[in-house]
């Protein structure tokens, strides 16, 4: 993950330095970013883990649904067939 000093983030955002620092402190408390000191500067980076976990979880949910919808298609064919019996059964 690319690191950025606070000063660079301030330049890119329409928010004053104090506001940016406050956002970053909250994101750090929440585990979304990390920070380290570099002399007088403070350097921030996004943490990959929270995003990766979210993405893994979404993959699992998607798999669950794709499998369920395959089952649903089978079940629909079964019931459609039961609703319209073939001529041989019509005796």
């Amino acid at each position: 993950m690319r690191e950025r000093p606070v000063g660079e983030l301030v330049q890119r955002l329409p928010i004053a330095q104090s506001g940016v620092s406050r956002h970053l402190r909250i994101l750090k408390d929440a585990g979304m970013v990390t920070s380290r000191a570099d002399g007088q500067r403070r350097i921030y980076a996004l943490r990959r883990e929270p995003f990766q976990e979210l993405s893994d979880w979404l993959d699992r949910v998607r798999q669950h649904w794709e499998h369920s919808l395959d089952n649903l298609e089978l079940e629909l064919s079964r019931r459609k067939a039961a609703l319209s019996p073939s001529p041989e059964d019509d005796t």
Partner: protein
């Protein structure tokens, strides 16, 4: 903020039959669930605010063994609440798994080639966003609180 996924399918069947398989306990139990599990629907109250309770159970010895290896019980029960309902058009429900909440919306539209399903999954997840990390939603709520303060 929520994470959002969309899954789409088109079914070559009448909407009445599809709706029955989605909205009756017996119909829903006949197809719903991950691979290796069977689903039993205990309560399905078809109204906004109604209960949708079901249990998913490992249906093979292999899956039961897998669950045990992961330290999980072989069956788990979900208590969901129906949040929106329009017959033959839309059903939505909210499930809570620990600190995770998932809103699922199934919307059906008649098209020339069959009944189109658009399934939208929205998660406001705290646990899944990592360890002690707060969820996006609460993070942004805290941000908003902080920004509202002077100084």
């Amino acid at each position: 903020m929520t994470a959002r996924q969309v899954i789409e399918r088109t079914f070559d069947a009448p909407i009445e039959l599809i709706w029955e398989l989605w909205t009756t306990a017996e119909g829903r139990g006949s197809w719903y669930g991950p691979r290796g599990f069977s689903t039993e629907v205990h309560r399905y109250e078809l109204e906004v605010g109604g209960a949708f309770d079901y249990t998913m159970r490992a249906s093979t010895p292999e899956m039961a063994a897998n669950m045990e290896r992961m330290g999980r019980p072989p069956a788990f029960t979900v208590n969901a609440v129906i949040t929106a309902l329009e017959p033959h058009q839309l059903i939505a429900w909210r499930e809570t798994h620990g600190s995770d909440s998932i809103l699922t919306t199934a919307r059906f539209t008649q098209r020339d080639d069959g009944v189109h399903l658009e399934l939208v999954l929205e998660a406001a997840s705290e646990q899944q966003l990592g360890g002690a990390a707060m969820g996006w939603k609460s993070t942004l709520e805290r941000l908003a609180e902080q920004l509202a303060q002077p100084g």
